[in-house]
Amino acid sequence: MPQLDTSTWFTTIMTMLPTLYLITQLKLLNTNHYQPPPTKNSNLQSHGIRWQPKWTKTCLPLSQPQQS
C-alpha cells in the first residue's frame, strides 16, 4: 500500500501543518462578518388607514338592509 511508504511522510506532514494551522486559520480570521444594518422601524400606522370606519358600511350579502 503506498500510504505506508514512510519516505513521503515528512513532506506531507510538514506541508499540512502550516496549511492547517496557519493559512486556513488566517483566512478564516480575515473574513469580516458584518452585522446586518439595523432596520429603522418606521411607523406605518400614520399612513395606514386613510378613511375612518364609520364612513363605510360593509354589507354582508344575506344580511338585512341597514337603516341607512
Binding site: 514512510t6 511522510w9 506541508t15 496549511t19 493559512i23 486556513t24 483566512k27 478564516l28 473574513t31 469580516n32
Partner: protein
C-alpha cells in the same frame, strides 16, 4: 492488478519533486477573504456557511471550549475542501495519506486530553470508570477504559483514511468495470447509474468530515465540561 489499483494513492511527483506541497496548499487558497460589507454571491454563501457551521458546532460548549472554535472551524474547512476536491477525476486527495491524518489526529486529541487533565483532573480520571460497576470488575474496567481512550486518535486517523481511500477505490473499480462492459451494452447503464449514485453518496465525504470534527468535538466536550 494490485499495483495499478493503488497508484492513485501514492504521493504525486512532478519531475521527482514532490507535488504534494501545492496540492495540500491549494484548498486553503479557495477560501475567500474580503473586507467589503456586501460581497458577491460566492463570498456571501461561504460566509453564511461558515457562520452556520460555527453556530452548529460551538453552541454546546462553554466559554473554555469555545476558545477552540477557530481551530475546529479551520479543521472542518480544510478536510471538507480537501475531500471534495478529491472527488474530481485524476486528482490526489491528501486525506488518503495516513501520515497526514495521524498528524492531524494525534496533536488535537492530545490537546483535549491535556486540557481535561489540567483543569478538571478528578472529573477526567473519574471517566475511566463507569458508574455502578461491581467492585471485583474495577481493575479490568479501568484498563479497558484507558485502552478505549488511547485508541481515540488512532481511530480518528484510520477512520478518515480508510473511508476516503475505500470510496475512491470503489469509484475506480466501478468505473473500470463500466468501461469494460461498454461493449456489451446490457449492464452498462446499470453500472454507470450505480457509479453515479455512488458518487453522490460519496459526497457524503462531507458528512465524514462532519464525523471527524464531531468525534473530535465529543472528546473535547467530555474533557472540558463534564
Amino acid at each position: 492488478m494490485n499495483e495499478n489499483l493503488f497508484t492513485p494513492f501514492s504521493t504525486p511527483t512532478i519531475l521527482n519533486q514532490p507535488a504534494t506541497i501545492p496540492i495540500i496548499l491549494f484548498p486553503a487558497m479557495l477560501v475567500l477573504t474580503s473586507k467589503h460589507p456586501i460581497n458577491n454571491r460566492l463570498a456571501t454563501t461561504q460566509q453564511n456557511l461558515t457562520q452556520l457551521i460555527l453556530k452548529q458546532m460551538m453552541t454546546t460548549h462553554n466559554a473554555k471550549g469555545q476558545t477552540w472554535s477557530l481551530m475546529l472551524m479551520s479543521l472542518i474547512t480544510f478536510i471538507a475542501m480537501t475531500n471534495l476536491l478529491g472527488l474530481l477525476p485524476y486528482s490526489f486527495t491528501p486525506t488518503t495519506q495516513l501520515s497526514m491524518n495521524l498528524a492531524m489526529a494525534i496533536p488535537l486529541w492530545t490537546g483535549t486530553v491535556m486540557v481535561g487533565l489540567r483543569f478538571k483532573t478528578k472529573n477526567f480520571l473519574a471517566h475511566l470508570l463507569p458508574q455502578g460497576t461491581p467492585t471485583p470488575l474495577i481493575p479490568m474496567l479501568v484498563v479497558i477504559e484507558t485502552i478505549s481512550l488511547l485508541i481515540q486518535p488512532v481511530a480518528l486517523a484510520v477512520r478518515l483514511t480508510a473511508n476516503i481511500t475505500a470510496g475512491h477505490l470503489l469509484m475506480h473499480l466501478i468505473g473500470n468495470a463500466a468501461l469494460a462492459l461498454s461493449t456489451t451494452n446490457l449492464s452498462l447503464t446499470l453500472l454507470t447509474s450505480t457509479l453515479l449514485a455512488l458518487l453522490t453518496v460519496l459526497e457524503i465525504a462531507v458528512a465524514l468530515i462532519q464525523a471527524y470534527v464531531f468525534t473530535l468535538l465529543v472528546s473535547l466536550y467530555l474533557h472540558n465540561n463534564t
